[in-house]
């Protein structure tokens, strides 16, 4: 009897594996699947919860009392959003070829904004600029310093200055050359639901855009 058992094992080896090999491999495979299945809910629980996602819903902001030259700061998806009402003089300055030559990406070629604001003023209406107020260097909030000169020296053209590492942007959020920040400030999806009410977090119905596809926030 012992001999026949031995010859069976030998046959199985010749065929490429024993019943034990089969059991061990399938058993280990199931164990691996089980481990992944057990880990999945735990890892998934660390993603934004449903209330956090719901808090990312679009918000409406009334701009009727926002005067030219002013900026307000609102919160969307826990991020600071700058809304600026630019003066005609400031808009004119954005088109100055000499100023433009100092910018890293003057034509907004890097995907830092929806396609419907890829223009010289980086906005839907030229006067109203909407930006995510997070420096593309390391995440600080840049200061709104619209006046040229001042404490930043005579070369300062007016725009955003990041106090953390000195990154500079112009008044449409375009980054200057020679500063640590690599990209222009991002523009969030937005559109105007009426003349002076902007909805942040929602694209115009005709222009779908996935905000997660932008280069860097």
């Amino acid at each position: 009897m012992a001999e026949s058992a031995h010859s069976q094992t030998a046959d199985a080896h010749a065929a490429g594996g024993t019943r034990r090999d089969f059991l061990v491999i399938t058993g280990n495979a199931l164990l691996g699947i089980g481990a992944v299945a057990a880990a999945w809910p735990l890892i998934s629980s660390m993603n934004p919860a449903r209330d956090v996602l719901a808090a990312g819903a679009p918000i409406d902001v009334d701009l009727s009392s926002l005067q030219p030259g002013q900026q307000i700061l609102v919160l969307w998806r826990s991020r600071p959003i700058f809304i600026v009402h630019r003066t005609p003089a400031e808009l004119k300055k954005l088109q100055d070829p000499q100023d433009i030559s100092l910018l890293r990406d003057p034509d907004s070629n890097v995907l830092q904004q929806p396609p419907y604001v890829k223009n010289w003023h980086r906005s839907i209406k030229p006067e109203y600029l909407v930006l995510v107020g997070i420096c593309t260097h390391l995440g600080c909030i840049p200061e709104f310093m619209p006046q040229p000169g001042g404490s930043l020296g005579p070369a300062w053209l007016g725009g955003y200055f990041c106090p953390c590492h000195g990154s500079r942007y112009d008044l449409s959020g375009r980054v200057f050359s020679g500063v640590p920040a690599p990209y222009n400030l991002p523009v969030p999806p937005h559109h105007f639901v009426s003349g002076t009410t902007v909805r942040i977090g929602e694209n115009p119905t005709t222009s779908p855009f996935d905000f997660d596809s932008i280069e860097q926030i």
Binding site: P41, L42, S44, S45, M46, N47, A49, R50, D51, V52
Partner: protein, 417 residues
């Protein structure tokens, strides 16, 4: 001897002998060949501890320990967090199942005399683990900040006020205030996170003590040679995994179909320090002790009896005077053991009911019997009981029980010239 042909394994093992350690404690570790399924519950308790720590760490990422936010944060875990309901139900029911397997593990030790020499410290470390588990479970139950959390915390911490002279100072110190409040919740959260890792460390010592002399076995006799044992791996690793699979099916049925079976609906009402619920009941696993507390109509003595009911377990190795370990060979102790099991269930039932009428009587009889068992019956029976004759060895008993003797016969013929 090299543990592996793998060069990397050898390189590591030469510097950090983890592989030698595992080989020694699993592949070479001799285990009695006659362990029955009651020996599965130690490893099941280890698995439950792991499940509790893992789910607990992830729950802690979502929980807010503040009297204003705690209840809402638990409801948020249930409704908003991805799989939060699963983690919480696993953790909540996991506590119950941890106690189920631990209690079975303890009663197994009592039946087969696993606490007797040379395993006294192994047993005592187990009692330490039980104490730590009860503290951890109690503090965890406070965290959701429901009505039962709050009033349970109030009642249990007030136990310490029974101590004469310093009692009230102790209670104020425990609370960090003049009632159970935010400081209490915060310290309970900190300790509830800490104690499981202390348990983990004591489990390490428990295993170290276990591996010194190896597992006891259903016959309660020592291993006399290699014929009495098998290596732990693969024989008992696979038996443990089979038992674990069966156990997890039961656990999953409760978690997925009856998640609130063992809970108290009162705890889904936010804590209200202005109103005590009509009935304060601890979680089921603490009911017998609660029954002992209430059985004695004197505050201080009741508290002392409750603590004594656990501390008496520490001296069990010296209370039992019998030289025979397993109740299998002890015709009288065997029956007394089952009376203790019935007594534990009866005390549990008493703890779940208002102390009125018949429940007072059962509670008092049960409490008296509990202490009678350990302090009187255990020493006495050991003296006058006449145990059945012990088998000469595990191997012989096992083969005889199989009725065959065929293998033994075969072995005998083979040794003949």
């Amino acid at each position: 001897m090299a543990v592996s042909q793998n060069k990397l394994v050898q390189w590591i093992d030469h510097r950090l002998p983890v592989f030698t350690f595992l080989d020694h404690e699993l592949n070479q570790y001799p285990t009695p060949k006659n362990l029955n399924y009651w020996w599965n519950f130690g490893s099941l308790a280890g698995v439950m501890l792991t499940i509790m720590i893992v789910t607990g760490v992830f729950l802690a990422m979502q929980y807010t320990p503040s009297v204003d936010d705690a209840f809402q944060s638990v409801e948020r875990i249930m409704r908003e967090v991805n799989y939060g309901w699963l983690m919480r139900y696993l953790h909540m029911n996991g506590a119950s199942f941890f106690f189920i397997v631990t209690y079975i593990h303890i009663f197994r030790g009592l039946y087969y005399g696993s606490y007797k020499a040379p395993r006294e410290l192994l047993w005592m470390l187990g009692v330490v683990i039980l104490l730590l588990m009860m503290m951890t479970a109690f503090m965890g139950y406070v965290l959701p900040w429901g009505q039962m959390s709050f009033w349970g915390a109030t009642v249990i911490t007030n136990l310490f006020s029974a101590f004469p002279g310093i009692g009230n100072d102790i209670v104020t110190w425990l609370w960090g205030g003049f009632a159970v409040g935010n400081p209490t919740l915060n310290r309970f959260y900190a300790l509830h996170y800490l104690l499981p890792f202390v348990i983990f460390a004591v489990v390490g010592l428990h295993l170290m003590a276990l591996h010194q002399h190896g597992s006891n076995n259903p016959l309660g006799i020592d291993r006399k040679g290699p014929q009495d044992s098998v290596p732990f791996h693969p024989y008992y690793t696979y038996k443990d995994m089979f038992g674990l699979s069966a156990f997890l099916i039961v656990f999953a049925i409760v978690v997925f179909y009856f998640p609130n079976l063992l809970g108290n609906p009162e705890n889904y009402i936010p804590a209200n320090p202005m109103q005590t619920p009509p009935e304060i009941v601890p979680e089921w696993y603490l009911l017998p002790y609660y029954a002992i507390l209430r059985a004695i109509p004197n505050k201080l003595l009741g508290v002392c009896a409750m603590f004594a009911s656990i501390f008496v377990l520490f001296i069990v190795p010296w209370l039992d005077t019998s030289k025979v370990r397993s109740a299998y060979f002890r015709p009288i102790y065997k029956w007394v053991f089952w009376l203790l099991v019935i007594d534990a269930f009866a005390l549990g039932a008493v703890g779940a009911h208002r102390p009125e009428g018949i429940w007072i009587v059962i509670g008092r009889v049960g409490t008296i019997y509990y202490f009678l068992h350990f302090l009187v019956l255990m020493p006495l029976i050991g003296w006058f009981e006449r145990p059945l004759p012990l088998p000469p060895s595990i191997a012989e008993a096992v083969l005889k029980k199989r009725g065959g003797g065929a293998l033994a016969g075969a072995a005998a013929t083979r040794t003949k010239p």
